[in-house]
Subunit: 298 residues, 2 copies
């Protein structure tokens, strides 16, 4: 993985590749939903001085207090209308409620503000964003996170080296929308690597490389937990068990949401995977060593 | 994971828990098969001064030269008869050939030598070991390793904190065989945590927590590689993809061998896993959010 060095404390006057260009800093970034990703964004933006002010908007009073304590936001509000003061609004709530939330927030958002989101499935969100905000909306998806959730697990360097999908209508990636270029710059400033994709292609690709591995890990963890001798099995388990179960400790609420939102692409990925596993199984059943070895040779 | 501190350089006269008791050191340990595990064992035994001498036995002349250069062995031989000088013989070859190799080596092994192995599947090996060596044989399986193979990837601290299955006939673990206690001590001296299991139970448990995750990872990597847009998918992949594919880079030869050796237990584990994944798939198909969330809650 590409690990661009992100300057911790930008030096005024000493411009480097990832520093904001003069006048490029946001006045006020509003982050709607201050969880693991929203909180990490706040920390990263504040630490890199990419905005004069970061406002966190969340219904949880304790969440906002913790976000404040952890330095993720400058101030918090439980009122969605607070987005009105921002020149950049980032939606970081669970993916299922995002299209409706864009709708509710639209009338409060300043007419020249940039709007983006970090949802894991893009088609419905991109359609809502385009309809409501036109060129000012750029959907995004940082491929960063962890099995933890909540602002208490947020990290300012969470995005460093991670791919960050940005949704474009141009399949060649040559998007001339100035908002697109501005969000891509923000993503780079956070240390991430922008990857330009249409919403449909994004959803198809992450079904395979993110949602499918989560489904497999959940299924594997359930198969182990359902074994009568489960405790002894885990006691003698090594690194492959740890690797295959890590993401199964992710939030079931959050992931039921994500998997359902990307249902059709995910079901197609699951079908391909089941066929691939069935190939290995039938080579095992027939005891065909050559066939088995060929199937393990990726 | 339990990480017992392993003393790097044992101080003579300063006995700690993991130090060898006086007179407890082996005169000569012969390691048959100097790959990742055999090489790591040699390094660990030499670094901890657990033997006066470590002999590596391997058919590969270049393997023995590299093992010597890396400090994994004191001397190397391609002649299996070299085991005759050892008071402890450790078999660390691929699992498929191990029972036959025990047979070939038996007539060369000193009548008072301890014999153990590190094979990933124990039933056939334990039966052969018992038949050939009686109480002097104790089957073992360190749950350590990596997707790498070969002595070039060996590490002296590979076993620190790892479970190490030791095969007993006593289901209560109260094995009174003195060889068993001696091998358990060696395992602890290497920084590992002995776990006492019958061969049948070991094979059933590792089918679930080691062989199944390997099969899943191989199947997942094959499903991704078979996708027409594979390159773009990997370009936008995050940590869950990395976790789920790591062990798929393991040696196909080695793993075809292991999976086949544990075929019946593995097929049963695969069946349970397939049912668990089918549960998730059908909740997705029916769009039943409550059922899906329940299935993700392990």
């Amino acid at each position: 993985v590409d690990q661009p060095a992100a300057p911790d404390v930008p030096q005024p006057g000493a411009l480097r590749e990832h520093d904001a260009a003069p006048g490029d800093r946001f006045r006020c970034v509003a982050i709607v939903g201050v969880g693991l990703i929203g909180g990490s964004l706040g920390m990263a933006i504040r630490r890199r001085s990419l905005a004069d002010k970061v406002i966190g908007i969340d219904r949880g009073e304790d969440v906002l207090a913790l976000a404040n304590d952890l330095g993720a936001i400058d101030l918090g509000s439980d009122d969605l209308a607070t987005v009105k003061g921002a020149d950049c609004v980032i939606f970081a709530t669970p993916v299922g409620c995002l299209p409706a939330l864009l709708d509710s927030a639209a009338r409060h958002i300043a007419p020249d503000a940039l709007v983006t989101d970090v949802g894991s499935v893009k088609s419905r969100i991109a359609a809502a964003g385009d309809r409501l905000f036109g060129d000012r909306f750029v959907g995004g998806h940082p491929m960063a996170g962890s099995e933890a959730s909540g602002v208490g697990s947020a990290l300012p360097e969470l995005f460093v080296g991670a791919p960050w999908a940005l949704i474009t209508h141009r399949t060649d990636g040559a998007d001339t929308n100035p908002s697109f270029a501005r969000i891509a710059r923000l993503v780079r400033e956070l240390g991430a690597r922008p990857v330009f994709l249409t919403a449909e292609r994004h959803d198809r690709l992450v079904a395979l490389t993110s949602h499918l591995p989560h489904a497999l890990s959940f299924a594997f963890a359930a198969a182990v937990a359902g074994n009568a001798d489960c405790e002894a099995a885990v006691n003698v388990a090594g690194a492959s068990y740890r690797d295959l179960t890590r993401v199964s400790r992710s939030s079931p609420e959050l992931w039921a949401d994500i998997l359902l939102e990307n249902r059709s692409h995910l079901l197609s990925a699951v079908a391909h995977y089941e066929a691939s596993l069935a190939d290995i199984r039938s080579a095992l059943e027939s005891g065909d060593r050559a066939a088995l070895e060929a199937r393990l040779r990726v």
